[in-house]
């Protein structure tokens, strides 16, 4: 190799990177770890779901019970009316039988 080329090799010898370079690249290449959700968040979410579910069930049960009570009352009224009407008819029949 000619001297001149050796001079070029000397001039273009490898240089050391800055001391922090390796750590900087490794830090940039490592993805930030996803923070774990605290357990109480999951517990709170579960409790809220249970409360909402229970509330809905209780409300549905109340509505069904109210509807049942109303139907029962209507039936009782209808029976009363029927009994009254039947009594009246019975009375009328008895009166007419006695007259004969």
């Amino acid at each position: 190799m000619e001297d001149f080329e050796q001079h070029l090799k000397n001039a273009l010898g490898r240089k050391e990177q800055p001391a922090w370079f390796e750590a900087k690249v490794l830090a940039a290449a490592t993805p930030p770890q996803s923070r774990p959700q605290p357990y109480w968040r999951w517990a709170a979410a579960l409790a809220a779901m249970i409360l909402i579910g229970t509330g809905v069930l209780v409300q549905e049960e109340r509505q069904e019970r109210a509807a049942g009570e109303a139907a029962k009352a209507r039936l009782q009224l209808a029976l009363k009316i029927t009994v009254t009407e039947l009594s009246k008819i019975q009375k009328t029949v008895r009166t007419s039988t006695e007259e004969e």
């Binding site: 090799k9 001039a11 490794l26 940039a28």
Partner: protein, 162 residues
């Protein structure tokens, strides 16, 4: 090989390529970091240390050329504008080394990268042509013309060192 091992083995090579080409330690650090981040995403596609080294040389060379093109007309700077970072010389005459680096910095992008790959990495014209994706004839012609220019300017300013 893990990413950390590849980084440790090649960081000096990548940084030096960028440093000799750009002559700006901060810009060289930026380019070198970008190259390694690209490598990190590409690690699974590369097979073996030789392939990794070839890939790093290729990507670093292209990134340096792109960096200069984006930054502006770096190739036309005058010698007076070329900064010389204060890094201690390991071999040879510090004054001559400094002068040679200044002259190399005035070369257009591709011949400059050819010179850096040839004399920093000791690559053959065939290897340089693969890295820079250019015909071997063009690499040889860049080398010949750059050497002539450098010899002439060095002879003029410092006397015959051949």
């Amino acid at each position: 090989m893990t990413f950390a091992e590849v980084l440790r083995a090649n960081q000096s090579m990548v940084f030096s390529l960028a440093y000799h080409f750009l002559r700006d330690p901060a810009a060289a650090e930026e380019v070198a970091q970008d190259v390694f981040m690209q490598l990190y995403r590409k690690m699974d596609d590369l097979d073996g240390a030789k392939h990794v080294t070839f890939w790093l040389r290729k990507v670093t060379s292209h990134r340096c050329i792109d960096y200069v093109r984006k930054r502006g007309s770096q190739a036309t700077i005058s010698l007076a504008d070329v900064a010389e970072p204060s890094i201690p010389e390991q071999h040879g005459d510090p004054l001559l080394n400094r002068r040679l680096r200044q002259l190399i910095a005035t070369l257009p992008e591709k011949p400059r990268m050819v010179m850096v790959l040839r004399y920093q990495e000791d690559l053959t014209p065939d290897e340089i042509s693969e890295v820079l994706e250019m015909p071997v004839g063009t690499v040889k012609s860049h080398l010949q013309r750059s050497l002539e220019m450098l010899r002439e300017k060095i002879d003029r300013s410092m006397g015959d060192i051949r």
